[in-house]
């Protein structure tokens, strides 16, 4: 059927009478690293939360390998297990160690045996450079470390797509780099990613596709080189001028 992993069609979302997203259309293919950029309040995070079904859409559909996941035909939990999410505030489980954080989803959702879950968790923790910390609890490690563990937790589910909701926005400046490095290595390994970000360097240099959102609509999208050097829309140009000169 469809080649696309995710296909968003005519997605709209309103909170009461306030329309946050208006008729969004776009697709995610295997290996895409899509950066969603735009001013605060433009609906970027809401879009990502809709894709992971943390918000219910007002209208529209989300096709996962051609199947609509918003109508309840596909089990929401099973779908979420295949579409991982990394949050701005990490959302690591406070009652579990770093290792257990990366194992619990595999064991309870994917029904992976304990020893295998452990091996897999350590494998991914090693990838993000957090393997030595397996016995620590989330409140004992720094923000950058927490975010790397959160990435490992999502990876341990072996998802097809990974959604990042402003993964570096809650971090101290000196910790942004370590998280971005992990994301770059993921991009290099052809992980399919959808990243809401304010890190323009990441959007320009790492992603394969850039989506600029303004006021709940996709104002412009395309290859990063084109968006950053020669944007068609006046709004895109002004946004980029403002943010790159800041």
């Amino acid at each position: 059927m469809s080649e696309h992993i995710l296909e968003i069609r005519h997605l709209s979302k309103a909170f009461g009478s306030h329309a946050v997203l208006k008729d969004i259309d776009f697709t995610v293919d295997k290996g895409d690293v899509t950066s969603i950029i735009g001013a605060s309040g433009s609906g970027k995070s809401t879009l990502l939360r809709c894709i992971n079904l943390l918000e219910t859409l007002t209208t529209g559909e989300i096709l996962y390998h051609g199947q609509d996941v918003t109508k309840g035909k596909i089990n929401a939990s099973a779908y979420r297990a295949k579409v991982g999410m990394v949050f701005q505030n990490f959302n690591l489980f406070n009652n579990l160690t770093v290792l257990a954080n990366c194992m619990i989803g595999q064991q309870k959702v994917a029904k992976v045996a304990k020893e295998e879950a452990r091996q897999r968790a350590i494998y991914y923790l090693n990838k993000v450079g957090m393997a030595p910390y397996i016995n620590a609890r989330p409140d004992q490690i720094s923000g950058g470390q927490k975010q790397r563990v959160a990435i490992a937790r999502a990876l341990a589910m072996e998802p097809e797509v990974l959604l990042f909701d402003e993964p570096t926005s809650a971090l101290d400046p000196e910790m942004v780099g370590e998280v971005l490095d992990v994301m770059k290595s993921l991009a290099k390994d052809r992980m399919t990613m959808l990243v809401v970000t304010h890190e323009m360097a990441f959007a320009r240099d790492v992603s394969t596709h850039v989506v600029y959102m303004a006021d709940g609509v996709i104002e412009e999208e395309g290859e990063p080189a084109k968006i950053f050097s020669n944007p068609e829309s006046l709004r895109t140009r002004e946004f980029l001028k403002r943010i790159l000169n800041a």
Binding site: N52, L54, T56, S77, A78, Y79, R80, A81, G84, M85, F87, N89, F90, N91, L92, F93, N94, N95, L96, T97, I104, G105, K108, V109, A110, V112, E116, Q119, R120, I122, Y123, L125, N126, K127, A131, P132, Y133, I134, N135, A136, R137, Q140, A150, R153, A154, L155, M157, E158, L162, L186, D189, R190, M191
Partner: protein, 276 residues
């Protein structure tokens, strides 16, 4: 005078020590059992009350959940809003109307009354405890595919238990003391022993003195143990870094279960030639 007091206590103890000790034991058994059952009731009600529902859910589910909330609300308000001593009398004399006189068992009634009382308070504590958990914890669990029950069981309730441990301790200590009102239906707890003994030998103050000391001892020991347990729940203050080499070894032995491979294709084109 002090000397007289201790002489009196001595003679009371010589004669009635086994009665006092049995009283203490009964008090402890009732307080511990009722607190445990009360906690179970409380967690049960707290969990039922916090099942989320939205206007989009089907009508049966919504009505059912609404009904559950109303029933729990009524339960909490009734048992929190009436004196336990009265509830004891009410149930003790009320049950025979429905189950015949054979149900007039003091132990059963005492455990029921104190448990449902504790449960009423705990229901609110647990509800508050669940509401105080960061919504991010729920979202984090949802995002890796957990359903509501898995989220509650593995993520939210362990954190809730830790947060409301002080309230559980509070309830337990209140129970140690307040089970004394069960003398009204003839339960022979520590306080009932005082009524009996002092009535027999007219040594009210020495007996009351012993009771005060006894209750204080029970609650202080309980406080100490509860603190220990809280510390244990909080986990170790330190963690040890694990030797990275061992981890790399074990990680290297791991085979990807799925054909598609991981996002980190070790067998990707770059390495393809080297393996063969």
């Amino acid at each position: 005078m002090i000397g007289q007091l201790f002489t009196d206590i001595g003679s009371l103890w010589n004669k009635y020590s086994s009665v006092y000790l049995t009283g203490i034991l009964n008090t402890l058994i009732l307080a511990v059992t009722a607190t445990l059952i009360g906690c179970i009731i409380g967690f049960f009600c707290g969990i039922l009350q916090t099942i989320p529902y939205s206007p989009k859910d089907n009508i049966v589910k919504r009505i059912l959940l609404k009904l559950i909330r109303v029933i729990i609300r009524v339960y909490v308000e009734v048992f929190r809003g009436t004196p336990m001593i009265l509830q004891a009398v009410f149930i003790y004399y009320g049950l025979p109307y429905f189950f015949g006189v054979s149900f007039k068992d003091v132990w059963t009634v005492s455990i029921i009354v104190v448990s449902i009382n504790t449960g009423a308070y705990m229901a609110e504590s647990v509800r508050g405890g669940i509401m105080s958990i960061d919504p991010g914890q729920f979202e984090g669990a949802k995002a890796i595919g957990m359903n509501h029950w898995q989220t509650m069981l593995y993520i939210v309730l362990p954190q809730t238990l830790r947060n409301i441990m002080p309230q559980i301790g509070n309830n337990y200590i209140i129970n140690v003391k307040d089970t004394s009102v069960m003398f009204i239906i003839g339960f022979s707890d520590f306080f009932a022993v005082h009524k009996m003994v002092s009535g027999a030998v007219f040594k009210y103050f020495p007996s009351a003195f012993m009771e005060m000391g006894g209750y204080l001892f029970l609650t202080l020991v309980s406080s100490f143990l509860l603190r220990k347990f809280e510390k244990k729940l909080a986990g170790k203050p330190n963690y040890e870094l694990v030797n990275a080499d061992q981890l790399v070894m074990s990680a290297g032995n791991y085979n990807f279960p799925n054909e598609a491979g991981s996002p980190f294709e070790e067998k990707s084109k770059e390495y393809e030639g080297e393996g063969k």
